[in-house]
Protein backbone atom coordinates (compact mmCIF):
# COMPACT_ATOMS: atom_id res chain seq x y z
CA UNK A 1 0.00 0.00 0.00
CA UNK A 2 1.29 3.47 -0.93
CA UNK A 3 0.52 6.24 1.54
CA UNK A 4 0.13 9.93 0.74
CA UNK A 5 -0.60 12.98 2.90
CA UNK A 6 -2.48 16.22 2.32
CA UNK A 7 -1.39 19.63 3.60
CA UNK A 8 -4.03 19.57 6.39
CA UNK A 9 -2.70 16.24 7.64
CA UNK A 10 0.89 17.48 7.56
CA UNK A 11 -0.06 20.65 9.44
CA UNK A 12 -2.04 18.84 12.19
CA UNK A 13 0.65 16.15 12.44
CA UNK A 14 3.46 18.71 12.81
CA UNK A 15 1.46 20.60 15.47
CA UNK A 16 0.98 17.42 17.50
CA UNK A 17 4.62 16.40 17.16
CA UNK A 18 5.64 19.75 18.67
CA UNK A 19 3.36 19.25 21.68
CA UNK A 20 5.59 16.84 23.56
CA UNK A 21 4.57 18.35 26.91
CA UNK A 22 0.97 17.40 26.17
CA UNK A 23 1.98 13.81 25.44
CA UNK A 24 1.23 13.91 21.73
CA UNK A 25 4.74 13.29 20.38
CA UNK A 26 4.10 9.55 20.05
CA UNK A 27 1.62 10.30 17.26
CA UNK A 28 4.02 9.33 14.43
CA UNK A 29 4.92 6.04 16.07
CA UNK A 30 1.28 5.26 16.85
CA UNK A 31 0.15 5.94 13.26
CA UNK A 32 2.98 3.85 11.79
CA UNK A 33 2.38 0.96 14.20
CA UNK A 34 -1.31 0.86 13.30
CA UNK A 35 -0.86 1.16 9.53
CA UNK A 36 2.04 -1.28 9.30
CA UNK A 37 0.26 -3.94 11.35
CA UNK A 38 -3.01 -3.77 9.43
CA UNK A 39 -3.38 -5.98 6.36
CA UNK A 40 -4.58 -4.05 3.27
CA UNK A 41 -8.04 -5.63 3.32
CA UNK A 42 -8.54 -4.53 6.94
CA UNK A 43 -7.27 -1.03 6.12
CA UNK A 44 -10.08 -0.83 3.57
CA UNK A 45 -12.80 -2.68 5.40
CA UNK A 46 -12.36 -1.72 9.02
CA UNK A 47 -15.62 -1.02 10.81
CA UNK A 48 -14.61 2.57 11.54
CA UNK A 49 -15.88 3.74 8.15
CA UNK A 50 -17.40 7.14 7.50
CA UNK A 51 -18.03 6.72 3.77
CA UNK A 52 -18.47 3.47 1.93
CA UNK A 53 -18.57 3.22 -1.85
CA UNK A 54 -17.55 0.52 -4.28
CA UNK A 55 -14.47 2.46 -5.43
CA UNK A 56 -13.27 3.95 -2.14
CA UNK A 57 -13.76 4.24 1.59
CA UNK A 58 -13.24 7.07 4.06
CA UNK A 59 -12.16 5.70 7.42
CA UNK A 60 -11.92 7.19 10.88
CA UNK A 61 -9.39 4.95 12.59
CA UNK A 62 -9.15 4.99 16.38
CA UNK A 63 -5.54 4.81 17.56
CA UNK A 64 -4.04 4.51 21.05
CA UNK A 65 -1.74 7.23 22.41
CA UNK A 66 1.30 5.28 23.60
CA UNK A 67 2.90 8.48 24.97
CA UNK A 68 0.10 8.93 27.50
CA UNK A 69 -0.71 5.19 27.73
CA UNK A 70 -4.22 5.89 26.51
CA UNK A 71 -6.26 3.11 24.86
CA UNK A 72 -7.69 3.67 21.42
CA UNK A 73 -10.99 5.12 22.64
CA UNK A 74 -9.07 8.01 24.24
CA UNK A 75 -6.12 8.23 21.85
CA UNK A 76 -5.96 9.70 18.35
CA UNK A 77 -8.38 9.74 15.41
CA UNK A 78 -6.85 9.26 11.97
CA UNK A 79 -9.02 10.12 8.97
CA UNK A 80 -7.91 8.56 5.70
CA UNK A 81 -9.22 7.88 2.22
CA UNK A 82 -8.45 4.49 0.69
CA UNK A 83 -9.02 3.16 -2.81
CA UNK A 84 -10.54 -0.29 -3.24
CA UNK A 85 -9.10 -0.68 -6.75
CA UNK A 86 -5.51 0.45 -6.22
CA UNK A 87 -3.16 0.07 -3.28
CA UNK A 88 -3.27 3.73 -2.31
CA UNK A 89 -4.38 5.57 0.82
CA UNK A 90 -4.32 9.27 1.63
CA UNK A 91 -4.00 10.47 5.22
CA UNK A 92 -6.36 13.44 5.58
CA UNK A 93 -6.33 14.49 9.21
CA UNK A 94 -5.15 13.42 12.67
CA UNK A 95 -6.49 14.73 15.97
CA UNK A 96 -6.35 13.65 19.60
CA UNK A 97 -9.45 12.75 21.57
CA UNK A 98 -8.07 14.13 24.84
CA UNK A 99 -5.98 17.11 25.97
CA UNK A 100 -5.29 20.64 24.81
CA UNK A 101 -5.46 19.83 21.08
CA UNK A 102 -8.53 17.60 21.32
CA UNK A 103 -11.18 18.13 18.69
CA UNK A 104 -14.86 17.38 18.49
CA UNK A 105 -16.10 14.91 15.89
CA UNK A 106 -15.93 16.21 12.33
CA UNK A 107 -19.14 17.18 10.55
CA UNK A 108 -20.14 16.09 7.05
CA UNK A 109 -19.09 19.55 5.78
CA UNK A 110 -15.61 19.14 7.30
CA UNK A 111 -15.23 15.68 5.76
CA UNK A 112 -16.28 17.19 2.48
CA UNK A 113 -13.66 19.95 2.78
CA UNK A 114 -10.91 17.42 3.56
CA UNK A 115 -11.85 15.30 0.54
CA UNK A 116 -12.07 18.32 -1.77
CA UNK A 117 -8.62 19.38 -0.61
CA UNK A 118 -7.32 15.90 -1.46
CA UNK A 119 -8.88 16.08 -4.94
CA UNK A 120 -7.34 19.51 -5.60
CA UNK A 121 -3.89 18.59 -4.25
CA UNK A 122 -3.83 15.40 -6.29
CA UNK A 123 -4.71 17.34 -9.46
CA UNK A 124 -1.98 19.88 -8.68
CA UNK A 125 0.51 17.13 -7.79
CA UNK A 126 0.90 18.47 -4.27
CA UNK A 127 0.40 15.28 -2.27
CA UNK A 128 3.42 13.96 -0.39
CA UNK A 129 4.20 10.26 -0.44
CA UNK A 130 5.28 8.94 2.96
CA UNK A 131 6.91 5.81 4.32
CA UNK A 132 4.91 4.27 7.18
CA UNK A 133 7.75 1.90 8.00
CA UNK A 134 10.03 4.88 8.65
CA UNK A 135 8.09 7.27 10.91
CA UNK A 136 6.17 8.87 8.00
CA UNK A 137 9.39 10.05 6.34
CA UNK A 138 8.66 11.80 3.03
CA UNK A 139 9.50 9.85 -0.13
CA UNK A 140 8.35 12.46 -2.61
CA UNK A 141 6.70 15.86 -2.46
CA UNK A 142 4.98 16.16 -5.83
CA UNK A 143 2.74 13.14 -5.98
CA UNK A 144 -0.72 12.57 -7.40
CA UNK A 145 -3.17 9.67 -7.22
CA UNK A 146 -3.54 7.01 -9.99
CA UNK A 147 -6.64 8.72 -11.45
CA UNK A 148 -4.68 11.94 -12.04
CA UNK A 149 -1.62 10.31 -13.64
Amino acid sequence: MLFYTTSTFRLTFATLMKKSKDGYSSVGKDICNALMNMPDNILRDTNDRIRHFAEYRVVKLRLPNSGLHLPKNNGFRLIYWVSTKNDVAVLLRIYPKRGSQSAVDLTDVEYDRLLMEMVNESKAGLLHQVDVSNGLAELSQNACLPGDK
Binding site: N47, D48, I50, F53, N73, D105, D108, D112, L145
Partner: protein, 144 residues
Protein backbone atom coordinates in the same frame (compact mmCIF):
# COMPACT_ATOMS: atom_id res chain seq x y z
CA UNK B 1 -13.50 -4.84 42.84
CA UNK B 2 -12.02 -1.64 41.46
CA UNK B 3 -8.58 -0.34 42.35
CA UNK B 4 -9.90 2.70 44.16
CA UNK B 5 -11.73 0.51 46.70
CA UNK B 6 -8.62 -1.57 47.30
CA UNK B 7 -6.62 1.59 47.87
CA UNK B 8 -9.19 3.05 50.23
CA UNK B 9 -9.42 -0.21 52.21
CA UNK B 10 -5.63 -0.39 52.48
CA UNK B 11 -5.55 3.16 53.76
CA UNK B 12 -8.37 2.34 56.14
CA UNK B 13 -6.52 -0.69 57.56
CA UNK B 14 -3.47 1.46 58.13
CA UNK B 15 -5.52 4.10 59.92
CA UNK B 16 -7.19 1.51 62.18
CA UNK B 17 -3.86 0.11 63.14
CA UNK B 18 -2.61 3.42 64.41
CA UNK B 19 -4.98 4.65 67.13
CA UNK B 20 -8.13 3.69 69.00
CA UNK B 21 -9.60 7.01 68.05
CA UNK B 22 -9.13 6.18 64.39
CA UNK B 23 -10.71 2.77 65.05
CA UNK B 24 -13.88 4.56 66.14
CA UNK B 25 -13.72 6.63 62.99
CA UNK B 26 -13.19 3.37 61.13
CA UNK B 27 -16.76 2.34 61.85
CA UNK B 28 -17.96 5.28 59.80
CA UNK B 29 -15.41 4.56 57.12
CA UNK B 30 -16.69 0.97 56.99
CA UNK B 31 -20.16 2.15 56.15
CA UNK B 32 -18.76 4.63 53.66
CA UNK B 33 -16.73 1.91 51.93
CA UNK B 34 -19.71 -0.42 51.79
CA UNK B 35 -21.71 2.27 50.05
CA UNK B 36 -18.84 3.07 47.72
CA UNK B 37 -18.53 -0.63 46.92
CA UNK B 38 -22.20 -1.01 46.04
CA UNK B 39 -22.32 2.14 43.90
CA UNK B 40 -18.98 1.31 42.27
CA UNK B 41 -20.27 -2.11 41.17
CA UNK B 42 -23.36 -0.49 39.72
CA UNK B 43 -21.28 2.08 37.81
CA UNK B 44 -18.98 -0.65 36.49
CA UNK B 45 -22.02 -2.67 35.44
CA UNK B 46 -23.43 0.29 33.51
CA UNK B 47 -20.01 0.85 31.89
CA UNK B 48 -19.70 -2.83 30.88
CA UNK B 49 -23.20 -2.90 29.43
CA UNK B 50 -22.59 0.32 27.47
CA UNK B 51 -19.25 -0.99 26.17
CA UNK B 52 -20.99 -4.17 24.98
CA UNK B 53 -23.58 -2.04 23.20
CA UNK B 54 -20.85 0.09 21.57
CA UNK B 55 -18.97 -3.00 20.36
CA UNK B 56 -22.14 -4.56 18.95
CA UNK B 57 -23.07 -1.38 17.05
CA UNK B 58 -19.47 -0.97 15.78
CA UNK B 59 -19.41 -4.57 14.53
CA UNK B 60 -22.51 -3.92 12.43
CA UNK B 61 -21.76 -0.26 11.69
CA UNK B 62 -22.21 -0.42 7.91
CA UNK B 63 -25.25 -2.68 8.03
CA UNK B 64 -27.69 -0.11 9.44
CA UNK B 65 -30.01 1.56 6.97
CA UNK B 66 -31.37 5.11 7.36
CA UNK B 67 -34.50 4.01 9.21
CA UNK B 68 -32.59 1.81 11.65
CA UNK B 69 -30.05 4.58 12.24
CA UNK B 70 -32.83 7.09 12.90
CA UNK B 71 -34.46 4.70 15.40
CA UNK B 72 -31.16 3.98 17.11
CA UNK B 73 -30.37 7.69 17.39
CA UNK B 74 -33.88 8.39 18.72
CA UNK B 75 -33.32 5.78 21.43
CA UNK B 76 -29.80 6.95 22.20
CA UNK B 77 -30.75 10.57 22.93
CA UNK B 78 -32.67 9.84 26.18
CA UNK B 79 -29.95 7.33 27.17
CA UNK B 80 -27.28 9.99 26.74
CA UNK B 81 -29.33 12.49 28.77
CA UNK B 82 -29.70 9.91 31.57
CA UNK B 83 -25.99 9.09 31.39
CA UNK B 84 -25.15 12.77 31.71
CA UNK B 85 -27.50 13.15 34.70
CA UNK B 86 -25.97 10.11 36.37
CA UNK B 87 -22.48 11.49 35.78
CA UNK B 88 -23.40 14.81 37.41
CA UNK B 89 -25.02 13.04 40.38
CA UNK B 90 -21.95 10.88 40.87
CA UNK B 91 -19.63 13.89 40.79
CA UNK B 92 -21.76 15.75 43.35
CA UNK B 93 -22.01 12.69 45.61
CA UNK B 94 -19.95 12.51 48.84
CA UNK B 95 -18.97 9.02 47.63
CA UNK B 96 -17.17 10.51 44.61
CA UNK B 97 -13.59 10.34 46.03
CA UNK B 98 -14.01 6.56 46.34
CA UNK B 99 -15.57 6.23 42.91
CA UNK B 100 -13.22 8.40 40.89
CA UNK B 101 -11.69 5.67 38.71
CA UNK B 102 -15.02 3.99 38.02
CA UNK B 103 -16.62 7.35 37.20
CA UNK B 104 -13.75 8.29 34.86
CA UNK B 105 -14.12 4.97 33.02
CA UNK B 106 -17.86 5.51 32.87
CA UNK B 107 -17.29 9.03 31.53
CA UNK B 108 -14.96 7.70 28.77
CA UNK B 109 -17.60 5.14 27.86
CA UNK B 110 -20.30 7.85 27.61
CA UNK B 111 -17.98 9.88 25.37
CA UNK B 112 -17.42 6.77 23.18
CA UNK B 113 -21.14 6.24 22.89
CA UNK B 114 -21.65 9.89 21.86
CA UNK B 115 -18.92 9.57 19.24
CA UNK B 116 -20.47 6.39 17.88
CA UNK B 117 -23.89 8.06 17.57
CA UNK B 118 -22.28 11.02 15.82
CA UNK B 119 -20.40 8.71 13.39
CA UNK B 120 -23.57 6.79 12.60
CA UNK B 121 -25.41 10.04 11.93
CA UNK B 122 -22.61 11.24 9.62
CA UNK B 123 -22.34 7.89 7.81
CA UNK B 124 -26.00 7.16 7.21
CA UNK B 125 -27.85 10.47 7.38
CA UNK B 126 -25.71 13.61 6.95
CA UNK B 127 -23.41 12.58 4.12
CA UNK B 128 -26.08 10.91 1.91
CA UNK B 129 -28.23 14.06 2.28
CA UNK B 130 -25.41 16.48 1.57
CA UNK B 131 -25.53 17.56 -2.10
CA UNK B 132 -21.94 18.82 -2.06
CA UNK B 133 -20.74 15.42 -0.87
CA UNK B 134 -22.35 13.82 -3.93
CA UNK B 135 -20.48 16.27 -6.18
CA UNK B 136 -17.17 15.27 -4.58
CA UNK B 137 -18.13 11.60 -4.81
CA UNK B 138 -17.74 11.54 -8.60
CA UNK B 139 -14.30 13.18 -8.41
CA UNK B 140 -13.23 10.68 -5.73
CA UNK B 141 -14.37 7.72 -7.84
CA UNK B 142 -12.17 8.91 -10.70
CA UNK B 143 -9.21 9.26 -8.36
CA UNK B 144 -9.59 5.73 -7.01
Amino acid sequence: MCTCIVEIKATYTEVRRQTAEVAQQGFDIDKYLDKVNVVCKKVEQVTDETNKLIETVRDHFTEFDVQETTELLAHSTPILILMDQLHRKLKESPLYPGLKTAVENYCDCVSDFQELCSDLQTFNIDIPRNEKCREVEELLRKLA
